[in-house]
C-alpha cells in the first residue's frame, strides 16, 4: 500500500515540477526579451481571478479542453494514442450544428438529441481508426492524423452547402434556440432580465459571457469516465488491453472489440466537446482556415492530467486559464501571448521526461552535503 501511494504521489510530483519548469522557462524567455516576467504572470493571474466574469470565461473555455483531454486519456488507457480528437471534435461540432439547425424539437429534448447525435457521429469517426487498428493493425497515430484532415475538409465542404451556409458569411446558420445550452439565454435578453441585471452588475458581467451548462456536463462526464474505467468490467477489459494486450487476449478478452470500443468512446468524448461548444458558445460552424487545436490541446491536457479523468478537470482549467490569462499580456504590456504555447510545450516536454525530473532531487542531494560542509556543518550518516 505504501509503495502504491508513493508511486501515485510521485507522478503528481512530476506534474507539479513540470508546471513549475514551464513557468520558469517562460519567465527566462520573457526576461531575455525585455519583459518583466513577474508583471506578465501577475497580469495573467489577475486576468483570470480579478473579476467573476474572467473566472467564468476561463471555466467556459475549459469545457472542450476537459472533454478532448478525457478523450485522449480514455484511448490512452487502452494503449492507444488518440491524435484524432481534433477531427472527432470537428465531426461532433459539425453534426451538432447540422442537427441543431435542421431539426425542430422542443427545448430540452433538442439539446439531448443534438448531444447524442454529435457524440454518435464522432464515435463512428473515432471507430474508423479503431477498426483500422484492430482489423488491419495500422497504427492509430497515422490514421487519426489522416482522419483529422478529412474531417477538416468535410466541415469546410458542408459549410459551402446552400441550405446550410448563411449567405454572406463563411459560416453555417446558427442553431435553433431550442438547442442552446446558454444559461438564462432568453431571460437575460428579456425586459425583466435586463432590468434585474442593471441592478446586479456582477451577474450582468457573468451572464454577458456565454455562461452555459457545458462545464457541469463535462464534470459529470469526467466522473462517469472515472467510474467506467475503474468500476466496470468494460473498464477492466479496456485497461487490461492497454497494459498488456497479450495477457488480455489470453484471459478471454476480445482485444479487437476493446480497441474499437475504446476509440469509439474516445471519439464520442471529443464529439461531445464539439457539441457543447456549438450549443454553448459558437452556435454554428465556420469555414476552417487552420485546425482550431481543441484536439491537440486535449493531448496536452491529458498529459498534464497524468491520464486521470479527474485530473483532466484540473488540467483543463489550468490550460484554459493559461490561454485566457495569457491573452491579456498582449493588451496590457504588449508582450506576445504565444509565450503560453511555449510554456505549455515546455510543461509537456518535462512531463515526457520523468527521468530528468527524477534526477533533480538526486543532483540536489549530491550538491547538498557539499553545500552544508562548506557551511561547516557536520553531516551524520
Amino acid at each position: 500500500m505504501n509503495k502504491r501511494k508513493r508511486l501515485l504521489s510521485h507522478s503528481f510530483g512530476i506534474t507539479v515540477i513540470s508546471i513549475l519548469m514551464g513557468f520558469i522557462v517562460g519567465a527566462i524567455i520573457l526576461h531575455r526579451t525585455g519583459y518583466n516576467p513577474f508583471e506578465a504572470y501577475g497580469i495573467m493571474a489577475r486576468g483570470v481571478f480579478e473579476k467573476p466574469k474572467y473566472l467564468v470565461q476561463t471555466i467556459i473555455n475549459s469545457t472542450p479542453l476537459i472533454l478532448t483531454g478525457l478523450s485522449v486519456v480514455f484511448a490512452f488507457r487502452t494503449g492507444l494514442f488518440n491524435i484524432g480528437a481534433e477531427g472527432q471534435f470537428i465531426i461532433g461540432a459539425l453534426t451538432a450544428a447540422w442537427v441543431g439547425y435542421f431539426l425542430k424539437l422542443p427545448p430540452v429534448i433538442h439539446v439531448v438529441v443534438v448531444f447524442f447525435a454529435a457524440a454518435i457521429a464522432a464515435a463512428l469517426w473515432g471507430g474508423i481508426a479503431g477498426f483500422f487498428k484492430a482489423k488491419l493493425g495500422i497504427n492509430e497515430v497515422i490514421t487519426t492524423i489522416m482522419l483529422n484532415w478529412i474531417a477538416f475538409y468535410t466541415q469546410n465542404y458542408f459549410v459551402t452547402l446552400e441550405s446550410f451556409k448563411k449567405p454572406d458569411s463563411e459560416a453555417s446558420y446558427a442553431i435553433q434556440n431550442t438547442a442552446s445550452i446558454v444559461i438564462l439565454e432568453g431571460w437575460k435578453k428579456s425586459q425583466a432580465g435586463r432590468e434585474w441585471l442593471k441592478n446586479h452588475p456582477i451577474w450582468r458581467d457573468v451572464l454577458k459571457t456565454d455562461f452555459n451548462w457545458g462545464f457541469l456536463i463535462a464534470i459529470l462526464i469526467a466522473i462517469l469516465i472515472w467510474y467506467i474505467l475503474n468500476k466496470t468490467t468494460l473498464g477492466y477489459e479496456l485497461r487490461a488491453v492497454g497494459f498488456n494486450r497479450f495477457a488480455a487476449e489470453y484471459g478471454g478478452i476480445s482485444v479487437k472489440k476493446s480497441i474499437v470500443a475504446s476509440m469509439m468512446i474516445a471519439g464520442a468524448l471529443a464529439g461531445a466537446a464539439g457539441a457543447l461548444h456549438v450549443m454553448g458558445v459558437s452556435h454554428k460552424v465556420s469555414t476552417l482556415a487552420t485546425m482550431e487545436g481543441y484536439g491537440f490541446d486535449g493531448i496536452a491536457v491529458s498529459l498534464i492530467a497524468g491520464s486521470s479523468p479527474i485530473g483532466c478537470i484540473l488540467a483543463g482549467l489550468l490550460f484554459s486559464g493559461l490561454k485566457y490569462g495569457g491573452s491579456k499580456i498582449q493588451y496590457t504590456m504588449n508582450a506576445p501571448p504565444e509565450i503560453i504555447s511555449i510554456i505549455i510545450g515546455v510543461i509537456v516536454l518535462f512531463i515526457a521526461m520523468p527521468r530528468l525530473i527524477d534526477a533533480i532531487p538526486k543532483a540536489v542531494a549530491k550538491i547538498m552535503p557539499f553545500v552544508s560542509r562548506r557551511r561547516g556543518e557536520k553531516h551524520v550518516g
Binding site: M146, I150, A289, E338, S341, V346, A352
Partner: protein
C-alpha cells in the same frame, strides 16, 4: 491542354518540395529509431526564421540555412528528451509542436512590431529560379517546358537531397550504422557503435530538414511567414514518410502525390470546372488511408522505431 498539364506538374513540384524536405527529416530520424511527430513544429519555426532572416538580411541562402539551423536547434530539444532521457517520443514531439509555432509567433511579434505575420520579402530576395535566364534567352518563359522545369532552386535541391539521402542510407558506412541503430540498437551497441550519438545526429538532421522545408515554403512558394502558412504540412510530411515506407525515394513519391492534389486544387480554382476544392484537398488523405489498408503488412517500420534505448538495460 499540354500547357495545363505543365501548369499542374509545375504546381505539384512546387508544393511537393517543402514536404519532401520535411519527409526526408522524418525518414532519417525514424530510421535511426526516433519517432518525430514534432516535424510540424520544426517546420513552422523554420518557415518563420527563413522569412525573418530573408527579410532582414536580404540573402535567401543565408535565410535558408538559418531556417535549417533553427529547426535543428528545436530538434535538439527532442533529441535530449527522447534519446538521453528516454522520453515517450510521441509526447516529446507533441511538446515540440507547441513550442515551435509558439516560438515562431512569439519571435514574429518581437521582430515585426507585434504582428504574427512577417513582412513580405522583396521578390529579388526570394530563392531564385536559376534557370530563368536560360528560358528567357530561348524566349520560352511560358512554355510547357518552363512550367515544369523552371523552378525555384529549392525544388532542385530537394530532389538532389532525396538522391543524397538514399545514397547515404544505403551505400555508406554512416547509413548502414544508422539503419542498424533503428533496427537493433543493442546489436549496434555491442559492436561499438555509439547509439546515442547516431540518434542525436539523425534527430538534429531531421530538424534541419524540416526547417529547410519550412523555409522552402516561406522563401519560395510564398515570400512571408504567417501563422497558417504551415498548418499541418509537417503532419502531411509525416504521413508521406509512412506512406513511402520509411524510405527516401518512397517518401518523395508520396510527397509528389500530395503535391499533385494541391496542384489540381490550385489549377481547377483558376478554371471553370466545378469540383468542390474541399473534396479535392481531402483526396490525398483518403488515398493514404486506402493505400495503408490495401497494402497492409507490406510496410516495414524500423523495428526499434519509437523505443528508447537504454544501455545495459533488459
Amino acid at each position: 491542354m499540354l500547357d495545363n498539364i505543365g501548369i499542374i506538374i509545375g504546381i505539384t513540384l512546387m508544393y511537393a518540395t517543402p514536404l519532401i524536405y520535411t519527409a526526408l527529416g522524418g525518414v532519417i530520424s525514424e530510421n535511426s529509431g526516433v519517432v518525430n511527430i514534432g516535424l510540424e513544429g520544426m517546420m513552422t519555426l523554420g518557415a518563420f526564421v527563413g522569412a525573418a532572416v530573408g527579410y532582414y538580411m536580404g540573402n535567401p541562402w543565408i535565410a535558408f540555412l538559418a531556417a535549417g539551423a533553427a529547426g535543428g536547434l528545436l530538434a535538439l530539444c527532442h533529441a535530449i528528451a527522447s534519446v538521453t532521457f528516454n522520453a515517450q517520443q510521441v509526447v516529446s514531439g507533441i511538446a515540440i509542436n507547441f513550442i515551435g509555432p509558439g516560438l515562431a509567433m512569439f519571435l514574429s511579434r518581437l521582430f515585426f512590431k507585434g504582428a504574427t505575420m512577417t513582412k513580405a520579402i522583396d521578390i529579388n530576395h526570394k530563392i531564385p529560379k536559376p534557370l530563368d535566364p536560360i528560358f528567357e534567352g530561348l524566349s520560352l518563359q511560358d512554355s510547357f517546358l518552363a512550367q515544369i522545369f523552371n523552378q525555384y532552386a529549392t525544388v532542385y535541391i530537394a530532389f538532389l537531397l532525396v538522391f543524397a539521402m538514399w545514397f547515404v542510407m544505403y551505400k555508406t558506412r554512416f547509413g548502414m550504422r544508422l539503419r542498424a541503430v533503428g533496427e537493433h540498437p543493442r546489436a549496434a551497441d555491442t559492436l561499438g557503435i555509439n547509439v546515442y550519438r547516431i540518434r542525436y545526429i539523425c534527430v538534429i538532421l531531421s530538424g534541419v530538414f524540416a526547417g529547410l522545408g519550412g523555409a522552402a515554403m516561406s522563401l519560395a512558394v510564398v515570400s512571408l511567414f504567417s501563422p497558417t502558412l504551415i498548418s499541418g504540412q509537417g503532419f502531411i510530411a509525416l504521413a508521406a514518410m509512412i506512406f513511402g515506407n520509411w524510405k527516401p525515394q518512397g517518401a518523395m513519391g508520396a510527397c509528389l502525390l500530395f503535391g499533385a492534389a494541391q496542384g489540381l486544387v490550385v489549377f481547377l480554382g483558376g478554371t471553370s470546372i466545378r469540383v468542390p476544392s474541399q473534396l479535392l484537398s481531402m483526396l490525398p488523405y483518403l488515398i493514404t488511408l486506402i493505400v495503408l489498408a490495401v497494402f497492409v503488412g507490406r510496410s516495414r517500420m524500423p523495428k526499434a522505431d519509437g523505443i528508447p534505448y537504454e544501455k545495459g538495460g533488459g
